[in-house]
């Protein structure tokens, strides 16, 4: 479990986030501070608002209230104290974010290599084809570079999507059920890669139902129910204790 010190400046600071869809409130006053080297595990039942939270943290959706700051600069939402906050996010700020959502973000008709090369070009990386090749090699799919995505298995698509999410070496990686569809060997490989990224100073926010898969990576553990934190803080030593607490909270 990588660690960080509270004195370190926050990489990501989300304050009092709310997200409404009509009358429904998907998120209610959610705050989260993430520092370099931390991995925040977010668990919760279906429909709790976990994926909505990730979209807000990625800047893909605007909060109805609250603010998301990335490296002290406003990514989304209204500033809490206008004088102390920099102007809204410019495109360059998005360079620091990698997102693996529950959709692959890949084009079915392009090959795995073409998908990654396109992402590399979008991010303005040098030698996009080389970056794509090394990205696929890192997830054990070098030999599938010329295979169209539509012909890959679910687990392989997830690995290509993971390679795409970290291709540009983001500082903040947001993951929504990253181990879905993967065989145990692939899951281990992805977990090892995430662990290595944490040690280089990346930060992770990892949404999952599968606490067992992510527990060793986590420095913090949160439980979200109906758009609110029911538990939030350092993860503690015992996974069984956390799971017990999680079940109690969800049942309540």
């Amino acid at each position: 479990m990588p660690s960080s010190t509270p004195s370190e400046p926050a990489l990501l600071e989300a304050s009092d986030l709310e997200r409404r869809f009509g009358a429904a409130r998907a998120l209610r006053g959610v705050s989260l501070t993430v520092r370099a080297g931390e991995c925040h595990l977010v668990a919760g039942p279906n429909g709790a608002g976990k994926s909505t939270l990730l979209r807000l943290l990625a800047g893909l959706a605007r909060p109805s209230a609250g603010t998301v700051l990335l490296e002290g600069r406003r990514l989304a939402g209204r500033p809490l104290r206008a004088r102390q906050v920099a102007p809204p996010a410019e495109p360059a700020l998005r360079r620091h974010i990698g997102l693996l959502s529950h959709q692959s973000q890949l084009y079915d008709d392009l090959t795995a290599g073409e998908n990654l090369a396109f992402a590399a070009r979008l991010h303005g990386l040098d030698h996009p084809e080389d970056r794509a090749r090394s990205g696929l090699a890192a997830v054990g799919l070098a030999e599938r570079a010329d295979t169209p995505v539509r012909k890959l298995s679910r687990g392989m698509i997830q690995r290509v999507a993971f390679a795409r999410a970290i291709l540009h070496e983001p500082r903040l990686i947001l993951l929504d059920e990253p181990f879905t569809g993967m065989d145990p060997v692939s899951s281990d490989a992805v977990r090892e890669r995430l662990d290595a990224l944490l040690r280089t100073g990346c930060a992770l926010v990892l949404v999952t139902h599968d606490v067992l898969e992510a527990w060793e990576l986590a420095s913090h553990a949160h439980v979200m129910v109906r758009g609110e934190w029911m538990r939030s803080g350092p993860r503690g030593a015992s996974m069984d204790g956390f799971l017990h607490e999680y079940r109690e909270v969800v049942r309540a």
Binding site: A58, R94, R95, I97, L110, H123
Partner: protein, 226 residues
Amino acid sequence: MRETLRVALVVAEKDLRVELRSRTAFISAVTLAALILLVFNFARDAAVVSREALAPSVLWVTLAFVGVTVLNRSFAVERENGALDGLLLAPVSRSAVFLGKYAANLVFVLVVETLTVLLVVLFFGADLRGTLGAILATVFLASAGFVAVGTVFAAMTARTRFAELMLPLLLLPFLVPPVIAGVQVTTRLLAGRPVSEIAGWLRILGLYDIVFFTLGLLVFPSLMDE
């Protein structure tokens, strides 16, 4: 500016590559064009309307529907697998994404429209000798504007549940000016009328292009935020 053009080229190249691989929009658009022309051909009462008289109207109605079909596909590929999120997360300006999508749509629409013009020659026996270049230039002028409108509306409807239905409903009213201007210009060109008679219609098309391209560029970025 240079970075904007670079990103636009990357996006356009990707869109054209995806379409070349799948040919989904191309096949459906050309098939639709052939079917519309076939229906009009058989529906025409030869004793009342000559093929030559009907050709300009049929050409532009077909171009309108073919254009909508192509534009519908433009953001459908971004909806599949949530690829749009990948585009929006990239550190690039939304205007560059608009330019890229616009360029790919325009190229693709023009390819399909050129084939449609040739199908009109085939089905309606229109004599385009000496006017083909001018008609294709008019098609280009009309398309430049409506592709801008279509790209904006396709982006706007991309996250809705009924995108395929919404796009034609929103776009078709905006196709009225270029279709009217296109019919007027084509009719006069085929009749061998002087250029002075079409200059006014061409100016309308040019103005339509400038207004809607500029609006598209300005509006598109805000449409991309949820």
